[in-house]
Symmetry: C2
Subunit: 250 residues, 2 copies
C-alpha cells in the first residue's frame, strides 16, 4: 500500500556524485553513462569480454537500472557490447579475423578522411595537426608509450576533424572504440612507435600540400602496416586462447 499513497521517490534528483570531472554537461543520465562507458573502454579500463552488470553499474553511478540499461542498449547497437542471450552483455570481443577485418575498414575510412582533410582543412587545423605530430615525436623521443598512444589518437582525431565530414567522424569513432583495446596493445609493441612517426610526417605533409590522393594512399598504408603489426603481436598471445583475444572471463 505504500507506493500508492506516498510513492516516496527517494529525493528530488540526486546527481550521481558530482565529484567526477566529466559531469556537468550531460542532461540525460543514460547518455551520460553511455559516454562514461565508452571512455572506459577507450582508455582500456574495461577490457573485451568484461561482463557488464546492470546492478553493479547502477550502484557505481548512483542511478537506477533503467538509464544503465538504456546506455547498454546504445553500446550494443554500436557493436561495442554484445548481448549474450538472457545472460547480460559483455564488452565486444573480436576474433582475430574480425580484428583484421575491422582494421581494414578503419584503414579505408581513415584514408577517406585524409583525402577529404587534404581538401577541406582549415588554417587553424593545420596548426593543430602540426602540434599533434610534434607531440608524437616528443613522446617517441622520451620513449613514453602512454603519451604516444594519446598523441597518436590526437593526430588521427585532427585528421578526421579536418575532413569536416560528420558522418565519417561518427563511423570512425565507433570503429576506433571497438578496436581501441587491440590498437593499444599494438602501439606498445617495440618497433611500432618508431615506424609511425615518419609515416605521420608524410601524411602531415601531404595534407598540408592539399594532396588528397597521396594523403589517402599514405594513410591507408599507415593503418595497413598497423594491421601487419598484428601478425607480430599474435606471436605473443598465441599461447593463450586461439580464436579470441583478451578472453579474461572465459
Amino acid at each position: 500500500m505504500a507506493q500508492v499513497t506516498s510513492a516516496a521517490p527517494k529525493v528530488a534528483r540526486r546527481r550521481p556524485d558530482s565529484t567526477s570531472p566529466a559531469a556537468a554537461e550531460e542532461m540525460s543520465l543514460s547518455g551520460d553513462i553511455a559516454k562514461r562507458l565508452e571512455e572506459e573502454i577507450l582508455r582500456g579500463r574495461v577490457r573485451p569480454g568484461h561482463r557488464l552488470d546492470e546492478r553493479e553499474l547502477s550502484e557505481r553511478y548512483g542511478v537506477s537500472r533503467t538509464p544503465v540499461r538504456e546506455a547498454l542498449q546504445r553500446l550494443s547497437a554500436s557493436g561495442l557490447a554484445v548481448a549474450r542471450g538472457r545472460q547480460g552483455l559483455q564488452v565486444a570481443q573480436l576474433s582475430v579475423a574480425d580484428l583484421i577485418d575491422a582494421l581494414s575498414v578503419v584503414a579505408q575510412l581513415e584514408a577517406l578522411a585524409a583525402s577529404q582533410a587534404a581538401r577541406r582543412i582549415l588554417p587553424e587545423q593545420r596548426s593543430l595537426l602540426r602540434e599533434a605530430h610534434e607531440a608524437c615525436e616528443l613522446a617517441l623521443e622520451k620513449g613514453d608509450a602512454d603519451a604516444f598512444y594519446d598523441a597518436n589518437l590526437a593526430f588521427h582525431d585532427v585528421v578526421v576533424a579536418a575532413s569536416h565530414n560528420r558522418v565519417l567522424q561518427d563511423e570512425i569513432r565507433r570503429l576506433s572504440l571497438k578496436t581501441a583495446p587491440y590498437r593499444r596493445a599494438i602501439t606498445f609493441q617495440p618497433g611500432r612507435m618508431t615506424g609511425s612517426v615518419p609515416e605521420h610526417a608524410e601524411i602531415l605533409q601531404a595534407i598540408l600540400d592539399n594532396d588528397g590522393k597521396r594523403a589517402s594512399e599514405l594513410m591507408s598504408r599507415h593503418i595497413t602496416l598497423l594491421t601487419e603489426g598484428i601478425a607480430d603481436f599474435l606471436q605473443f598471445v598465441r599461447a593463450s586462447g586461439d580464436r579470441v583475444l583478451f578472453a579474461e572471463t572465459a
Copy 2:
C-alpha cells in the same frame, strides 16, 4: 490501490500480433521493435523528420513503453534517429552536405566490400550475385521502379555478404539505413535505373574474375554516380526547404 494487491501484468505475454511475417525469431521485444523500426525506415514507410512517439509505438506494437524506449536508444546510437532535447526523437534528417558526405563514406565502404568480395566470394554466392543482377535487368525491362529498388538492394547485399567481413557488413547496413530514404528517391529518378544495370554488369564481371582492384574502382564509381544523381534530384526539391530534405514535420 489496485496494483499493489494484484499488479495484474496484463496477461502471460502477448506476442505483438503474430500475424506479421517477420516475427517468431526474436526473443527480446526491444530488439524485435528495433528491427521493425529499421525495416520501416528502409522501406520508406517512415520518412526522415518523422516524430517517434513512445506511447504511439508502444500501443501499435502492444507492449509497454520500456522496450520501445530501448529500441529508440538503439536507433539513436546508430545515428538513425536523433534526440531533440527533451522533446523526443525523430528519424534522422540529413542536410544536403551530410547526405553527400554519407554517400562518400558508403562509396568507400562498398568499394572495400567489392574488393574483398572479389577475393573471398564463395561458389554459391557467385550464383546469387548473378541472379540478383538478372533481377535488376528484369526490373529494368519491366520499368518497375519498386522491384528495381529491391533487386538493387539485393545485389549490393550479396556483394557485402560475399566480402565475409562482418564488421564491414554492420557498418554498411547502418549507413545504408541512414541514406535509404534518399537513395530511394534517387533510384526513382528517370535515368538512374538504366545507368545502373551496365555498371552492375561490370562489377559482377570483375568480382567473378576475382579482380579486386577493378571491382573496387567500379563500385566506387558506381556509388559516386549515384551521388551525382543527387545534384539532379536537388533540382526537384530546391523549392521546398533549402538545408534539409524531407522536412515533413517542420
